[in-house]
């Protein structure tokens, strides 16, 4: 499987499609998934430059996944940006190890700036 810039995890398929569209508009290659299992599957095949991940994932907590990834040596160096519409999400996401946070709903320009800022050089 080919390398992608960004792997996206969101349980809301509509949001996945929308974010994918914006990222592609921004010029990035992107592969999205809607479950943690799928994400782990993807990560076994490819090493993205950035993971974009929603916090509340219908049965799983993005913060736990973020924490786990940051703990594992294989994935520890991956940049992770988390997103959520939950009011008090930012602090807990950052505590879980997220490199950055994007509140939902977001402004497209700010979103793309944040993504760009978190890509490794």
């Amino acid at each position: 499987m080919k390398q992608v810039d960004i792997v996206l995890l969101d349980d809301d398929k509509d949001i996945c499609l929308m974010v994918e569209a914006i990222l592609r508009f921004g010029g990035y290659t992107v592969q999205s998934c809607s479950s943690p299992e799928a994400l782990l599957g993807l990560l076994s095949e490819t090493t993205p430059r950035l993971i974009l991940m929603d916090m509340l994932l219908s049965g799983a907590d993005g913060r736990d996944i973020c924490h786990t990834l940051k703990q594992k040596t294989a994935t520890a160096r991956l940049n992770i940006v988390m997103m959520s519409a939950h009011p008090d999400a930012e602090r807990s996401c950052r505590e879980a190890g997220a490199d950055d946070f994007i509140p939902k709903p977001f402004d497209m320009d700010i979103f793309l700036q944040t993504v760009s800022a978190n890509l490794p050089a």
């Binding site: 809301d12 949001i15 974010v19 009011p87 709903p105 402004d107 497209m108 320009d109």
Partner: protein
């Protein structure tokens, strides 16, 4: 017949000494006898005997009674007298001066022939050139001649002049001695023979014995029947038999006085009298009565004892100031009271008086010069800072001219009492504050009509009434709607006197304009009067309508409690049920006190295990605690406990505290005991040692003297010399003695006494003797003046006794007597059978009885009937020699009034240490007791209320130290108050909140701003519940905080409920935002993508959608904020940042999206603030967007940052539509929108300024607006700035 023989042949004349020679040589032929040769043989023979005799002899011979005499006779004729002329001279011629005396004797002998005998006959004769008084003892006998006829008178004689004169002088001496004895003030008597016949007894002796002179001549056995059972006869016999002098000192003798035998004290001597052969034939006794002195001393000792008890029992210091000379006496304890370890000069005492009390003290002292009495309380500051309260009592004594002479008074340490009252008042105040400020409804009612007498704010809030509408009226008049539900309950409580606990009790209340069912937890607590009757009911109510569904179940778990008991170093045990079954007892109790194994006692009644307790007070106390629920505490209580080594005496400090079920009923008693036997016994030992020391008493020694008034010669005993400071062997003159008398006394006392003695014969004075290098000594002199026939004094006879010690004692006694008499405390002595023996003024004041009305009556006269058992207990303890200190009780006065008293009772002992009575000090504490009672009642009522509140109540000192937790705290946490206070409140708070709570609490303490935190508190089961704790400072009239009153309410159910609501809102917001995210993302993407296509409709449509989506997002965010504000869950993440920098950034951001208005940013300062940056940003954005929104027709908005007096300020000024005066106060309220047609045209929810205000408030900041309709508005925000 004539016989011729030469002279030498005259044998009868041979020898015969000088008179022989003279007789031979005399020319007898010229006499009627004729020559010697012719003398008859009878004459010759007689002369032969005469001249050769060494015994004085004389012969009258013949009709002419011619005189012959021998050498032995010659000295009686003296010099220049009759010798030698009368030899051969006729008697009449030789003895003309006495011829009339002797001629009849001669004639009698011559005529009768019988001899005569005269003894010590005064026959003055002429000799030595004068007529001398000469005494003779002589015999005249007839000399019979050859014819058988009496021819001469033969005189044998001896001159007894010397003998007679010396006998006469002996008789004089004897008379003198008798006079000495008889006149002496010393009782003197002589008993003769083994029958002890009273031979001599002087007046003093008769007086001493109580006899008349008829006793003289009688035997002691007959005359003194009273001596039969006394040891004196035996003593006399012993002296009579052994000759060893007996000296009795202050011996007790039963003597007859006024017809009755009375105990008297006598100091005396029995001395054997021996005859010339050294055989004892009598006894001399000398003595004097010392009853008065001994009794005075005993009285003094008793008085001293009483006063000392009074003084010791109350830690009293005594002082005695001479106001004229400045001399001062201070008792031993005085300097201790002022905190000095060593005695100090009197001027220094005032140094330690508290500066604030000095003027009052001076005023009181000045007043006392007018009134004669003084009493005040004052403070002294001890060296290391603490203050001691002292009470001064004194009396001023005046001289005859009315000038103040002496001040005698007492100083007493009353700190304990003062502090107790202060603490009690503080406690009352604390509880009153607590109650009035308590967030729980409290109301008190009196009488069966349930008249409301007290109601707090929280109660008024529950029922929606004002204080004035409820006070003084029946509860049902104010709240008729509650009558059906609560009247039966209240009546039951009132009648039965047991509290009623209502749990989640539904009651209909008409309030806030509607009638609704409210749920209330409450207690109806009966209030009882002194007689135990219910006088009213206290209601403690807590509305739980909101939480009614949240079940409040407190489970009774005694696990932690038991742990505490088991491991306590204080002996503890728990008794369950009315039988006092020992449920548990800790090791200290089992090992140290009971000396029993746990198996022996657990499950058994304490009264079965220790049956000896049944006879002691403890079962009654336990029952009392069990039934009343009032804890009982005692210190130094005496208990007897059976132990393996026998019955042991213990002094215990103990407490019985009731254990209650959650419903308030008592199920047991927790007992804590501290064994203080060691402490108590060492104190008792000390007291014993003290009393032994007091028993050392000095004796008295008497000196005698005899002064000859005419010559000034004085005879004295050695003791007198010793008393006057001379060597005992010295012989002193009267002048030498006089010189040693104190000059003042010599003039004022001794000379006056002498003048009196000249008039009355009685000499008696007390004066000082000055001894070189020593303190003056006091003597008492008594004497008797003797007068001669012409009434002229010739002799003064007397005694001297050193009374220095007695005098010193008297001074002390006088002082003590004054103290005892003038003391405000009653000082009473009683005998061991309870008969009152002394009664001072203080006692009279307290009990109204005059001394003569009460002395001799039983002490029980003063005891109310229901307390009579007390006296038996007191006597029992006194008999054991125990002292009873500060015993509070009640007594009754003459008029039946009950008086509260504090008693200190000490045993009085005789010389042998036997308890013979008691001295008690009674203090009337009725007033204090009443005041204390009122305050205590109030304190207890409030304390009870505080403890009954289901919420936590606590109080803290201004320094933030918590000093009280109510029972609810202990029940919930399972910790005792002392453990909570000792270990601090933080131990029960969840670790996550501790740090923040501590910081907030310290801030509250420093600033005085009310404290308010939400935190989790751990229960005894180990789980946590949420509590809202608030504390308000209580300030005095000067605005100084004196106490913090805190409460903690269980908000766990609300909190959980709110959490759910909060979670719901957050999820709702999340769920709303999720679709918005998709829409917004696509719209913005489409807009970007359409930039190339340039379809105007599509572009406009997409922009519109984007704008509306933004508004929707803001709306969702604002609503969420409002919800958070309402639930108090708006979180702050404060940090330090410069305020102006933030404002400048935001202004720049908003300027980029607003073309219509020019934003002017003015920076005067850039203060650092500690705040949530995002929230403050939200505030600024809100104010700026509002300013733009409400100034549609203007173009400028000015935003400034500045700082004033440590406060950071932001102002936002527009020149828009402005706000009307009517609207201005309300604009920060939720959903408030200004009325008016212009305003209504502005869209909005009315929540923006509400959120802004809440955010600012949470930062302890302020927001306000200044505005004028149609002119524009300025909004100000202030935030605390950090330097």
């Amino acid at each position: 017949m004539s016989i011729e023989f030469p002279v030498t042949k005259h044998n009868f004349l041979a020898g015969g000494g000088e008179m022989g020679a003279l007789t031979r040589s005399k020319n007898w032929s010229e006499t009627v006898l004729g020559a010697i040769d012719q003398w008859p043989q009878s004459l010759r023979t007689t002369l032969g005997i005469l001249l050769h005799s060494k015994f004085p002899m004389f012969l009258f011979w013949g009709d002419e009674l011619l005189c012959f005499y021998n050498d032995a006779y010659r000295p009686s004729l003296g010099r220049e007298g009759k010798h030698p002329n009368i030899l051969g001279m006729p008697g009449e011629k030789a003895w003309p001066e006495i011829w009339h005396v002797i001629k009849p004797l001669i004639d009698q002998v011559l005529s009768t022939g019988e001899a005569t005998w005269s003894e010590d006959q005064l026959i003055p004769i002429y000799r030595n050139g004068r007529l001398e008084e000469v005494y003779w003892t002589f015999s005249y006998s007839a000399v019979i001649d050859e014819k058988g006829q009496a021819a001469g008178v033969f005189v044998t004689c001896t001159e007894t002049t010397n003998l007679v004169l010396s006998t006469r002088s002996l008789a004089e001496s004897e008379r003198n001695f008798r006079s000495l004895v008889l006149e002496s003030p010393i009782s003197t008597a002589v008993f003769r023979t083994k029958q002890f016949i009273v031979e001599v007894a002087n007046e003093a002796a008769l007086e001493l014995w109580g006899k008349t002179s008829e006793i003289i001549g009688q035997s002691l056995f007959d005359g003194f029947p009273e001596l039969q059972n006394q040891p004196y006869i035996d003593l006399l016999r012993n002296v009579f038999e052994t000759g060893i002098t007996y000296e009795g000192k202050e011996n007790l003798v039963m003597l007859r006085r006024e017809g009755q035998l009375r105990p008297c004290y006598v100091t005396f001597v029995y001395k054997a009298i021996r005859d010339a052969n050294g055989i004892i034939n009598g006894i001399l006794t000398m003595g004097y009565e010392v009853t008065e002195q001994v009794l005075a001393r005993e009285r003094m000792e008793a008085l001293e004892e009483r006063a000392r008890i009074a003084i010791d029992a109350n830690d009293i210091g005594i002082y005695d100031l001479n106001l004229q000379t400045g001399e001062a006496y201070f008792s031993e304890k005085m300097h201790l009271l002022y905190g000095y370890t060593d005695p100090i000069a009197k001027e220094s005492y005032v140094d330690r008086v508290h500066p604030d009390d000095k003027p009052m003290r001076l005023q009181k002292i000045a007043e006392s010069i007018e009134t004669g009495r003084m009493q005040f309380e004052y403070r002294v500051v001890l060296p290391d800072g603490p203050v001691r309260w002292l009470e001064a009592h004194s009396r001023v004594f005046f001289d005859q001219r009315g000038n103040p002479l002496r001040r005698i008074g007492t100083i007493q340490d009353i700190t304990e009492r003062k502090l107790f009252n202060e603490r009690l008042a503080a406690s009352e105040n604390r509880f009153r504050n607590t109650i009035m400020q308590a967030p729980i409804g409290i109301m008190s009612m009196e009488g069966p009509e349930f008249i409301v007498t007290m109601v707090n704010k929280a109660y008024l809030a529950i029922v929606d009434k004002t204080e004035s509408s409820m006070l003084g009226r029946s509860l049902f008049a104010s709240l008729p709607e509650v009558e059906p539900a609560v009247a039966p309950l209240l009546k039951t409580v009132f009648e039965k006197g047991t509290p009623y606990y209502g749990n989640e009790f539904p009651v209909v209340l008409n309030r806030f304009g509607s009638s609704r069912t409210a749920y209330v937890d409450f207690v109806y607590q009966p209030q009882k009067d002194a007689g135990g009757r219910v006088s009213g009911i206290m209601v403690i109510a807590h509305e739980i309508t909101a939480q009614v569904e949240a079940r409040f179940a407190v489970e009774e778990s005694r696990r932690k409690f038991s742990d505490m008991v088991m491991h306590s170093p204080i002996a503890m045990t728990i008794f369950r049920g009315p039988e006092f079954i020992i449920e548990m007892a800790n090791e200290t109790m089992l090992n140290n006190l009971w000396k029993k194994e746990a198996e022996e006692v657990i499950g058994r009644s304490i009264l079965d295990v220790f049956p000896e307790l049944n006879d002691q007070k403890y079962p009654e106390l336990l029952r009392n605690v069990y039934t009343t629920g009032v804890s009982h505490k005692e210190i130094d209580s005496l208990a007897y406990v059976q132990q393996p080594e026998g019955m042991q005496k213990f002094y215990l400090d103990f407490e019985y505290a009731p254990l209650r079920q959650p419903d308030g009923s008592i199920f047991g008693i927790i007992v804590t005991v501290n064994d203080v036997t060691g402490r108590f016994e060492s104190r008792a030992l000390l007291e014993d040692a003290e009393s032994r020391l007091r028993l050392a008493v000095e004796g008295t020694g008497l000196a005698t003297w005899d002064l000859n008034i005419q010559t000034g010669q004085i005879l004295h005993s050695p003791r007198l010399a010793a008393i006057f400071g001379f060597d005992a062997a010295a012989t002193l003159s009267h002048a030498q003695l006089r010189e040693r008398l104190h000059p003042d006394d010599r003039i004022n006392v001794v000379e006056k006494a002498f003048e009196k003695a000249l008039r009355t014969g009685i000499y008696d004075y007390e004066a000082r003797v000055l001894l070189p290098g020593q303190l003056p000594r006091w003597i008492r002199t008594q004497g008797k003046m003797s007068f001669d026939d012409r009434g002229k004094p010739f002799r003064l006879l007397g005694t001297v006794i050193d009374i220095t010690e007695k005098k010193a004692g008297e001074e002390q006694q006088q002082r003590l007597a004054l103290i005892v008499q003038t003391s405000d405390d009653g000082i009473i002595s009683k005998s061991i059978d309870g008969i009152i023996t002394s009664w001072n003024e203080g006692a009279q004041r307290i009990f109204q009885y005059l001394p003569e009305e009460i002395i001799g009556k039983s002490i029980k006269t003063l005891i109310p009937p229901e307390r009579l058992a007390e006296e038996d207990e007191i006597i029992r303890r006194l008999k054991k020699g125990e002292r009873i200190a500060h015993f509070h009780s009640k007594r009754v006065d003459k008029f039946g009034r009950i008086i509260d008293v504090s008693l200190a009772i000490s045993p009085l002992r005789d010389n042998n240490g036997n308890v013979i009575g008691a001295s008690k000090i009674v203090r009337d504490i009725t007033r204090e007791k009443q005041a204390e009672g009122l305050i205590r009642e109030s304190e207890q009522r409030f304390r009870l209320l505080a403890d009954s509140m289901p919420q936590f109540v606590w109080t803290a000192t201004p320094a933030g130290e918590i000093n009280y937790y109510n029972k609810t705290v202990c029940d919930y946490t399972g910790l005792s108050t002392s453990m909570l206070i000792e270990k601090g409140w933080a131990q029960m708070v969840h670790p996550d909140e501790r740090e923040d709570n501590t910081r907030q609490w310290l801030q509250a303490i420093q600033t005085g701003i009310p404290y308010r935190v939400e935190h989790r508190i751990r229960s005894k089961n180990g789980d946590y519940r949420w509590y809202l704790s608030t504390a308000l400072p209580q300030k005095d009239e000067n605005g100084v905080i004196h106490i913090w009153v805190g409460t903690s309410a269980d908000i766990d159910d609300i909190k959980k409920h709110d959490q759910q609501k909060d979670d719901f809102i957050k999820m709702a917001s999340h769920e709303l935002k999720t679709p918005v995210t998709t829409i917004k993302g696509y719209v913005q993407l489409l807009l970007k993508m359409n930039q190339a296509a340039k379809d105007p409709f599509l572009a406009n449509s997409l922009q519109t959608i984007d704008k509306q989506v933004f508004k929707l997002t803001k709306l969702i965010t604002d609503l969420l904020d409002v919800t958070k504000i309402e639930t108090g869950s708006l979180e702050m993440n404060p940090e330090y940042f410069p305020l102006a920098t933030l404002v400048k950034e935001i202004t720049a951001d908003i300027q980029t999206t607003s073309n219509s208005h020019q934003l002017h940013f003015v920076q005067e300062a850039d203060p650092l603030v500690y705040a949530d940056r995002d929230r403050i940003a939200q505030v600024i954005i809100n104010l700026l967007t509002n300013a733009i929104k409400y100034s549609p027709r203007s173009r400028g908005v000015t935003i400034s940052v500045f700082s004033r007096e440590g406060v950071a300020l932001i102002s936002v000024t527009d020149s828009g539509i402005g706000i009307s005066k009517e609207d201005l106060p309300w604009i920060f309220d939720r959903f408030y929108r200004a009325a008016g047609k212009d305003e209504k045209t502005f869209p909005g929810f009315g929540i923006g300024l509400f959120i802004v205000k809440e955010i600012v408030s949470l930062h302890r900041g302020k927001i306000w607006a200044e505005s004028e309709k149609d002119k524009g508005s300025t909004f100000f925000v202030s935030l605390p700035a950090n330097q």
